[in-house]
């Protein structure tokens, strides 16, 4: 167990290191841009140069990188040029909003795709199986922004039941809860398609195992066979997949947040990247990678706990 954590911790650190260096180096390709962004288009070149020097941006890349690492280690992530606030506060606020969105979506995705995946996979090739497979393939094929537009055109434009934006500020006669419905629905639909097909594939494989045949021949009811013999074994692969899903979830969240003007982490990163707000981009990338790797580790851990053969 200790070995497991040491190995993953080393990988996490290595990844963070590589990513931070790459993002930091990207910054090199537009020298002076930071000062220019802060001062605006009407500042003279001299003023830009002075600020560049004052901010220490004219020093060699490696020196600044080491400085940056030192500051990060001390908990100082710098100042956001786009939001005019400390990076730590900006990220914290937006990340909390995204966590809310992701948690709601996750709470729907897991039970929904388990029910559908198991129902489809327990009798491979049955009509129910074909129907669920088709449906999940089609739903997973629709890009999130298109799903958002489709749902919004029905529930916002046509029926007028829900608001088209989710700014998390109650207004225009809509509560925050009503605002959250569509963004969560889009993420759930898009991601479920993928998770359902994973659980289904795993279930199909388990159902062909000898111990299932034995259980059936012993005379157990189909219900018992599924619930106490197949389910636990069929969950092994999908657990890892669901955890890997975090990366897709992040991708989906960026788009969904943009569609519904949701003040979350993804939209913040897009704005930061477009604005070339380097401090925020750098710190945001580190946070994103940290979350991605950490959830992968959690996925592996869950896998170990569920499968006694690996635990040794």
């Amino acid at each position: 167990m200790a070995r497991f954590f040491a190995k993953h911790l080393a990988f996490l650190l290595l990844t963070l290191f590589v990513v931070s260096f790459l993002v930091f180096t990207l910054n090199e390709f537009s020298p002076g841009a930071v000062a220019r962004k802060i001062l605006g288009a009407y500042a003279t070149q001299e003023q830009v140069d002075v600020l560049t020097r004052q901010m220490g941006l004219d020093r060699p890349l490696l020196v600044r990188y080491v400085d940056y690492l030192r500051a990060v280690a001390a908990g100082d992530l710098g100042q956001s040029a786009r939001f005019k606030a400390p990076v730590r506060e900006v990220i914290g606020k937006h990340l909390a909003n995204t966590a809310l969105l992701a948690a709601l979506a996750f709470a729907c995705i897991v039970p929904l795709s388990m029910v559908l995946g198991v129902a489809a996979g327990m009798r491979e090739g049955s009509r129910l199986d074909r129907a669920i497979l088709m449906l999940s393939t089609v739903v997973a094929s629709i890009p999130e922004f298109a799903l958002g537009v489709f749902l919004a055109s029905v529930f916002v434009v046509w029926l007028g039941w829900l608001p088209g934006t989710a700014t998390l500020v109650a207004g225009g006669g809509w509560s925050v809860a009503a605002q959250l419905v569509l963004p969560v629905a889009v993420i759930v639909l898009f991601d479920s398609g993928y998770v359902v097909s994973m659980i289904r594939a795993s279930m199909v494989e388990v159902m062909q195992r000898p111990y299932i045949r034995t259980a059936v021949l012993k005379g157990l009811s189909f219900r018992r066979v599924i619930l106490s013999h197949a389910l636990r074994n069929a969950m092994l692969t999908p657990i890892t997949v669901i955890m890997l899903q975090i990366n897709y979830l992040v991708a989906g969240v960026v788009v969904v947040e943009t569609v519904f003007a949701y003040p979350g982490f993804g939209r913040m990163m897009l704005e930061a990247a477009l604005f070339k707000d380097i401090a925020l981009v750098e710190a945001g990338a580190l946070v994103a990678v940290f979350l991605a790797v950490a959830t992968n580790v959690l996925g592996d851990l869950a896998y170990m706990l569920l499968d006694p053969r690996i635990r040794a």
Binding site: F11, L133, V149, A152, V157, A251, A273, L274
Partner: protein, 270 residues
């Protein structure tokens, strides 16, 4: 190819993809208007009509023409990026699997690092920085998809390199490159083809998403994702402007994914 007819999803998927490919090729001949010509007078009746079958967009450009022309960049960029990723990924996977030891470990770790990165954030950083031309998009898609292919190929190479025909080739004195490309790679193609099909569908989604986020192909030439970005704010007034490109991109991805599902079914059968 004849076997494709035996699977309904594969047939339907192939039909959809071929339909879009044909429309894209014929776009200059069948598009009723030039894709960037704006007819502001048409805005008075922007909804679908006899003169503009699918209506016009927010600056009076014919939607049907823009959809047809917009199929072209997607259908060039997505497959090119998949081919690039397949070439780079196969090479990395073969090398990692065939040599094992430290070179294998280095490649595997490098791939793990790329895979652990939420790619959308990588796209935003790189494309916002270097600008988003078609080549840059192909480049980032190739780099971020290659590790997935490398992982698949490496797994298969680990298994295939122990086969007798590889040993025979070694005895004949063939070079490592020959063994990898001629003896191992062809035997790994089945799962690769299915994956490339899925990957093409995902690439279509990503190209759309990039366009939608405003870091896709530069305007004014039609790009499905960009068309949605420009018009989804006007959905309360003119929902068709965003719905039409959304329907176009969704149908194309459905086509690629059905094809992949069908190919997998056929592959499992024999």
């Amino acid at each position: 190819m004849a076997a494709l007819g035996e699977s309904t999803p594969a047939t339907v998927g192939l039909a959809i993809v071929l339909l879009w490919a044909t429309l894209a090729v014929l776009a200059p001949l069948i598009a009723p208007y030039p894709p960037n010509a704006s007819d502001l007078a048409a805005l008075a009746h922007a909804t679908p009509s006899r003169t503009h079958w699918l209506g016009t967009d927010h600056v009076g450009r014919d939607l049907l023409s823009r959809i047809l022309w917009g199929a072209r960049p997607v259908l060039v960029i997505a497959p090119l990026a998949v081919l690039g990723a397949a070439a780079l990924g196969s090479l990395l996977g073969l090398t990692a699997g065939y040599y094992g030891r430290w070179i294998g470990i280095v490649i595997t770790r490098a791939c793990d690092i790329v895979l652990s990165f939420p790619v959308i954030i990588l796209y935003m950083i790189i494309l916002a920085h270097f600008g988003s031309s078609a080549w840059n998009i192909i480049g980032v898609l190739t780099l971020t998809k290659a590790p997935i292919i490398a992982r698949i190929v490496r797994g298969m190479t680990l298994d295939l390199r122990e086969r007798e025909y590889v040993a025979a080739a070694k005895m004949r004195g063939e070079s490592a490159l020959y063994i990898m490309l001629v003896e191992i790679l062809p035997n790994a193609r089945g799962p690769l083809v299915v994956d490339m099909c899925l990957r093409t569908g995902y690439n279509v989604i990503i190209i759309g998403v990039l366009g939608f986020l405003g870091i896709g192909l530069p305007p004014p030439d039609p790009d499905w994702g960009g068309m949605v970005k420009d018009t989804y704010g006007m959905m309360m007034v003119w929902p068709h402007m965003a719905l039409v490109p959304c329907a176009a991109i969704s149908s194309l991805v459905v086509g690629f994914n059905l094809l992949a599902v069908g190919l997998r079914e056929l592959g499992l059968r024999d």
